[in-house]
Symmetry: C2
Subunit: 447 residues, 2 copies
């Protein structure tokens, strides 16, 4: 019998090739157990509100007012909302034509893109052009669009750090390209090893693959390291020499749990380096409202900023963004609020600072608790989680456990995580799901 177009054997092979470990076997088993009534703590993705983190008040007040603009004319509105939230809601509504219910420009609301550009300029000390900033439904949509713009066929390779956030492998599969792994050095605090990176590129070349882009995740997901300025400088030099676009996933830029290596954007270092590199290296940077002390994952707000891209390419990216009409508008407003929060002296300033500090301090405390806890266990080692939201321990399993796993037809780390899930209700992601080398680890988010 001829298979039907949506029978499994007829599907697009790129769809079938996608592996997405963070919502893989462990997640499904955890969901099953939850349905059966077991209490599950999902630590498979950074989803802070699902783990009890409270939203910041001010942005929620502003967006609530934007959703219900008729409240702005209600004489009682001041009983429920502070005056600066009311003013800010009017500010954003005035930027839209039709409020939250109207499509915005496909790149996002111009006024919010200007707020993002101002934020980037304050952060980096170099001006930013709102025309090169596109708002997106969360950072992952931007990453997917950019990979789809770059990848032409399976001969196009993308350098991705391993252990890696599986968004990248999944999106590269979907686009029909080739993932070229470069391994982070667990023994060197998940640092970069350029000898290794060169070897990865050489190995790809020998298979006929043209490496076209390099992904960095800084701070690291799922490994938690913060890249040093020297590392990023070397990276940019490498991208210049090898003619690679740098895709800088910087969504954890506010999640820093040590003082030695503060976050510095790839863009700032690019401009610090001066010509020719600052004029030549193509860079796309990603950010989101889902992480930081906001953790507004469900709102799906994000942006990407493009540096050194020709305008003809920017036009193409705009055209493709237009096919989905516009990113969700409430998410755009969250993004505006994140990059342009209340200032000292504003009514809501102190409360927002207190709430933000409490979240960040709690994340920092938990980063210590997690990694100290791991390192106090026998046969477990874990690098300190310098940033982001995850800890990635290495667990040495006894031979008998490995044997039992083999018998069950599972990778040892998957087997371990399943047992952990059943015993404790904690849903983790096995290290093999992040492409970690055989013979290593599981990951356990600290958030």
């Amino acid at each position: 019998m001829t298979p039907k177009p949506l029978d499994y054997e007829s599907l697009n092979e790129n769809v079938k090739k996608v592996a997405y470990a963070v919502r893989g076997e462990l997640y499904f088993r955890a969901s099953e157990l939850q349905k059966e009534g077991k209490k599950i703590i999902f630590t498979d993705v950074g989803n802070p509100h699902a783990l009890g983190q409270k939203p910041l008040s001010f942005p929620r007040q502003v967006v609530a007012l934007c959703q219900a603009p008729f409240l702005l004319d209600d004489p009682n509105v001041g009983l429920l909302f502070p005056a600066d939230a009311i003013a800010r809601a009017r500010h954003y509504l005035s930027m839209t034509s039709g409020g939250l219910g109207a499509y915005s420009d496909s790149r996002g609301i111009p006024g919010v893109r200007k707020e993002v550009a101002d934020f980037i300029e304050r952060r980096d000390g170099y001006p930013s052009d709102p025309e090169l900033i596109f708002l997106t439904d969360g950072a992952s949509k931007g990453v997917m669009q950019m990979l789809n713009t770059i990848i032409r066929d399976e001969k196009d390779g993308i350098l991705v750090p391993v252990p890696q956030y599986p968004l990248y492998s999944a999106a590269i599969s979907l686009c029909g390209g080739s993932l070229v792994p470069y391994y982070l050095e667990e023994e060197a605090n998940w640092g970069l090893d350029f000898y290794n990176i060169h070897q990865s590129v050489a190995a790809a070349h020998s298979k006929g693959i043209t490496v076209r882009a390099m992904v960095i995740i800084n701070p690291g997901n799922p490994t938690g390291q913060c890249l040093s300025e020297a590392n990023i400088r070397e990276l940019l030099k490498f991208c210049f020499q090898e003619n690679l676009v740098l895709l800088a996933d910087e969504v954890y830029q506010q999640n820093i749990y040590q003082d030695e290596r503060p976050f510095v954007s790839a863009r700032k270092i690019l401009f610090d380096m001066g010509p020719p590199i600052s004029k030549e290296v193509q860079l796309v940077s990603f950010h989101t409202v889902s992480k930081g002390y906001w953790g507004e994952c469900g709102q799906r707000g994000g942006y990407f900023e493009m540096t050194n891209l020709p305008s003809q390419t920017v036009d193409e990216i705009y055209k493709v963004a237009s096919v989905s009409l516009s990113p969700n508008v409430p998410g755009q407003i969250f993004l505006g609020l994140m990059v342009n929060p209340p200032k000292a002296g504003d009514i809501s300033y102190l409360k927002l600072v207190q709430e933000s500090k409490a979240v960040l301090e709690s994340l920092r405390r938990r980063a210590h608790i997690m990694t100290d806890g791991f390192n106090s266990c026998r046969n477990v080692v874990c690098n300190f989680t310098e940033g982001a939201m995850y800890s990635f321990p290495q667990i040495r399993l006894p031979l008998k456990a490995i044997e039992a796993a083999r018998k069950a037809g599972k990778a040892p780390d998957v087997f371990y995580c399943l047992k952990l899930l059943e015993a404790t209700g904690i849903a983790t992601v096995p290290g093999s799901g992040f492409g970690q080398k055989e013979g290593k680890t599981i990951s356990m988010p600290s958030s």
Copy 2:
């Protein structure tokens, strides 16, 4: 010099091939004029709130409360919000784990998917399974995902009605497939001509293209017709014979401006037909909060429902949805509210009915004004807009105008629309942008 990976000549060819007329030359020119201070009326996409339609109060109240859950404990909340909105906000918040700030399951919140299933069952008289309903960031994201699942390469063809909503041509280009046009018959009120459709399929076959899916847009975008039950029955038979998935874009199902042909879903007719067709034809139906009397375009809420898809395929679609983690949660709640509005006797029922009726009546009135207006002009004819939000007139241009267009290097309809824009500030979409046959028409939304 070697081009860089994001230089125009290096981009993915599928990206370059995308044509997206509704945000094409006319839109850009209109945006320019707007920047220069001209008042522009954008009628290029159905974006009712941008044209002054007010949001319905109840859903906005509920979502505002969900955004600001701390209001639920405020003793003054009752001064600003009715009790049923408060209760409904609690209802949705209880379905989430972490409120609007947490990722939901990648298919959407289970409780909302259940509300959608109940709505479909009430509408069609046949039960619907929430496991086969996926929530999306607007309907277009669902359409794009489904096309990406079906299309393997340029030899896979998708039957698309022409004049067509350019989402389909754009998404098919992006996925690297082939659009197989079937022309709607302007002279027969934009009806289907099965002789024609058979010929389109035969022509595709002769080029080595396997037609794998058929798109219908009912009510029609941009043509405004409502398909008769007999037409849909014949379509389903055709899909059965030709082994095609039917992609039923039914986002305008609430936008009906005549009583002779009420909306009937493809799914209801499929089940009415009984086996073997009801058991065999694979059907995916799309719906949204962006249209109807809601018009909540900027919220990006939608769903698709799958019929007769094997579970292995559903799993693959789930896996790919997981890569973007989850659709935006506020949009999901709007969808829940749309399919499960207040009932007779609820506090907000009458107000919602009044508001909805006012919107629908205004749309119906404007459908008449638009098409009557067109038909009262010399050299203009236009089918009555039976549904959806658009009118698609045919304008006979004098030879001199065609001559002037040729001299300006423009298609005559593009030339006409540009002149119209400059003279009146009304931004339309030329018929050629919808793939209409040479020698026809421009389109002008009635919304």
